[in-house]
Amino acid sequence: MTDLQFNIGLSLFLLLLGYFAGTYLERQHFISIRQREQDLLNVPAVNFRSVPPDWQVESSGLAAGSVVVSVDYFKRFLAGLRILIGGRVKTYETLLDRGRREALLRMKEQAIAGGYDAIINVRLETSRLANANGQGTAGVEILAYGTALKLANTATA
């Protein structure tokens, strides 16, 4: 009986922890993402396969950014309930959204650090990481990569 009470107590504690800490951290993350997206608007990242005709390319190289993100305990619980009735699993939608945006930002940051001005042929890849016992999600990895270009005349932005 005490075991059962302990287990219920622990689950409740984890749900509350997941809800409050998880929501807070996610909000902070989105604030940071929006800020950095504004700052990096001057670096165009496109998924064209070739260079737009009016760009004068000086040099090129690969730029990549990746991130592993996971949902909190509370959201995982909600998603578990959602699976019973079907429909949009919003908690995972925001997870993938923040992961993709973060990966794209890191790719841009790497391009800037390498002295590049723009990125073409951007590709996004998602892979799911299993946890130690092979079940559930330890998280998803999102990789963004593309060909970074140094332009002769930076009249693109």
Partner: protein, 104 residues
């Protein structure tokens, strides 16, 4: 060594093809990191140790691909692709491949 994921190197022309080059590495996460990550899993967000692990592994795969390209006398690798597959529980293979070419 120029690396791109487009079919050409922008601003240069390909003068010779050497064929496919690839590099791979299989990595497992260590238990300590796994325990920390499972704690982080409670509150969600970025699992930094996994991000770094996969990033390092991908860099190593890329490095091996570049070594192969160098050994055949190429000065660029074009159309590079990355792929990830989990071979067994707790381990993943990171694979990078592309076409080795000489550009001018």
């Amino acid at each position: 060594m120029i690396v791109t994921n487009t079919e050409t190197v922008p601003g240069k022309t390909i003068v010779e093809f050497y064929g496919l080059v690839s590099g791979s590495t299989v990595r497992a996460k260590h238990v300590g990191k796994d325990i920390l990550a499972s704690l982080k899993n409670l509150v969600g967000g970025e699992l930094k140790s996994y991000t770094d692990l996969l990033k390092e592994a991908r860099q190593e795969a890329t490095q091996r691909m570049l070594q192969e390209a160098e050994s055949v006398g190429a000065n660029a690798v074009v159309n590079v692709r990355f792929s990830t597959s989990s071979v067994t529980q707790g381990a993943a293979e990171l694979f990078a491949y592309g076409t080795a070419v000489r550009v001018e």
